[in-house]
Amino acid sequence: MASILLVSLIKVAVLLFFVLTAVAYLVWFERKVAAHLQGRWGPYRVGPHGLLQPLADGAKFLLKEDVTPSSVDRFVYFIAPLVTMTLAISAIAMIPFGPAEIRIFGVSTPLVVANINIGLLAIFAITSVGVYGVALAGWSSNSKYSLLGGLRSSAQMVSYELSLTLSVVGVLLLAGSFNLSELITRQGGFSWGFLPQWNLFSPPFPQVLGFVCYFISAIAETNRAPFDLAEAESEIVAGYHTEYSSFKFAMFFLGEYASMITVACLATILFLGGWLSPFPQTAGLYWTHYIPSAVLALAGIGLIIDGVLYRQAFGRVVLPVLGLVVCALSFLCTRPGVIDGIQGPFWFLAKILFVLFVYVWVRWTLPRFRYDQLMRFGWKFLFPLALANVVLTSLAVVMRK
C-alpha cells in the first residue's frame, strides 16, 4: 500500500517536471514557428538558437515587481490564476503515454498517473471548472476592461464547451467506454492491411466531422487565435489579465499553454490513435521499430553540424554536446530492452507535436473573429454540426450490428 503511494508520488513528480518544461519550451516552439512563418528568426541570441529564452522569461517573471491594485478583491484576485494553472496542469494526470508497464521499486505500474474509468469525463469536468479562473480574474480586477474581457472570455468558453463534448460522443459510441487507455486500444488493427483503424479513418463512420469540430472547439476553448478577442493586445488592452503582473500573469500564461497541451493530447488519443504506431505490427515491417532511433540520430547529427558552424563560441560548444547526447539516446533506443518500450511514447509525442504545430500555424495565419461572429459560429454552426455527427455515427453503429 505504501509502495503504491510512493510510486504514484514519483510518477506525479516526474510528470509535473515534464509538463512544466514542456510548457516552457512550447512557448519557445511557438515563437520560433511564428517567426519563421513571418520570415524572421525569432529568439536567437539568448543561448544557441534561443534555447535559453524560456529560462530568461521565467527569471523575468519571477523578478518583476508584483503590483496589486488597491481596490481589488484580494482573496479572489489571488486565487483566480491559481485555479487556472492548477486545473490546467492536473488534467494531464489522466493521459496515458504508452501501453507498456514500467517497474519502479519493484512495483509494475502503467504509464499513466490516474487510470480512472471515467477518464474522459474527468478531463471535461476539469475544463468546465477552469472557466472560473477567467471569470473571477476579470471580475476581481475591478476594472471595466478586465470585467468585459473576463465575461466575454468565459461566455465563449462555456459556449464552445458544448460543441467540444458533443463532438467526442461519436468516438464514445464507437468505443463504448470512457477509459482513455481502452479508447486507444480499440483503435488498434488495420483495415485493408495498411490503413490504421484510428477514429479518424474508422471503418463504420470516419470521424472527420468530429475531429474538425473538436479541433475548432478546442482552439476556442483555450482562448487562442483566431478566437482570442477577449485577451488580444490590440483589442481590449489585455482582457482579463490586464491587472496582473509578474508571477500571477505567468500562471495565466502557463495555464493557457498547459491546457493547449491537454487538448492536443486528447485530440491524439481520441482521433489519431494515441500511442499506436501508423505501421502494421507484422514481422515484415519490423524495421519500423527503428524509426525513433533514426529520427533521434538525424536530429543529433543535425545539431552537431549546426553547432560546429555556429557563430557564437558558446553555441559552438553547447550544440555539439547536445547533438552527442541525442545521438547517444538514439543508440540507446536500439537496445533490445528499450526498443519495444519506446515505441508508444515516441508515436504519441510525434502526434502531439504535429497537432501543436497545426495549432500554432492556425494562430499565425488566420485573422481574428469578432465577438458576435464568434458566438454565432459556435451556437449556430458548430453545435448543429456536432449534433449531426452524433446522429450519423449512431446510425452507422446501429446499421453495423
Binding site: 478583491d73 482573496f75 479572489v76 480512472i116 474509468n117 471515467i118 469525463l121 474527468a122 471535461f124 469536468a125 468546465s128 471548472v129 472557466v131 472560473y132 471569470a135 473571477l136 471580475w139 470585467l147 465575461l151 468565459s154 461566455a155 462555456v158 470512457f178
Partner: protein, 176 residues
C-alpha cells in the same frame, strides 16, 4: 482511522465549512465560490459512494454550468455586499445557540439511527446500469425533463429581454 474514514472526514469538513461560508459571508461572489467548494467536495463524497458518473455530472453540470450562471448574474447585476444590520438581541443570544443545538441534535440522531447498515458492494459498471435504467424504465421522465429544459431556456430568454423603449426610460431616470 481507516483511509475511508479519513477521506470522509476531510471531505465532510470541507463541505460543512463551505456551507457555513455560504450563509455567513456578505458578498454574493464569496458565497458563490464557497458553494462551488461545497459542490466539489460533494462530488468527492459521491466518488467514495461509488457513483462516479454522478460525481462527474455534478462537476460538469452543477459546478461548471449552473454556478457559472450564478457568477455571471452576480457580475452583471453588480451585486455589492449586503448591508449589515444587527440581529435582535433575542436572535443573537438565544436563537443562534439554540439553532446550533438543534442542528447538532438532528445530526446526532440521524447519525446514530438504526439505519447504521454498512454499505453493500455495488456491481460493476454503474454507467451501464444507469443508462439502462434511464432509457428503459425512466424514459418518460427523461423526455419530460428535456422538454422542461427547452421551456426553461425559452422562458429565460423571453424574461430577460429588454423591451423596446426601456433603455430610454433608464436614461431619463439617470439624468433626472
Amino acid at each position: 482511522m481507516t483511509p475511508q474514514m479519513l477521506t470522509f472526514l476531510v471531505l465532510a469538513a470541507v463541505a460543512v465549512a463551505g456551507a457555513v461560508n455560504v450563509i455567513v459571508l456578505r458578498h454574493p461572489i464569496h458565497s458563490a465560490i464557497s458553494l462551488i467548494v461545497v459542490m466539489v467536495s460533494l462530488a468527492g463524497l459521491f466518488l467514495t459512494l461509488e457513483a462516479e458518473f454522478i460525481a462527474a455530472l455534478q462537476i460538469i453540470v452543477y459546478a461548471g454550468a449552473i454556478m457559472v450562471l450564478f457568477v455571471f448574474v452576480i457580475m452583471l447585476l453588480n451585486a455589492g455586499e449586503e448591508e449589515r444590520t444587527n440581529m435582535s438581541r433575542m436572535a443573537r443570544y438565544v436563537g443562534v445557540p439554540l439553532g446550533i443545538v438543534l442542528l447538532g441534535e438532528l445530526a446526532y440522531q440521524v447519525g446514530a439511527a438504526s439505519l447504521s447498515m454498512t454499505a453493500q458492494p455495488a456491481d460493476a459498471s454503474a454507467i451501464h446500469g444507469l443508462s439502462m435504467l434511464l432509457f428503459q424504465d425512466f424514459v418518460f421522465p427523461f423526455e419530460l425533463t428535456s422538454i422542461l429544459i427547452l421551456i426553461a431556456l425559452l422562458g429565460a430568454l423571453v424574461l430577460a429581454q429588454r423591451r423596446e423603449g426601456a433603455p430610454a426610460k433608464r436614461e431619463q431616470q439617470n439624468a433626472g
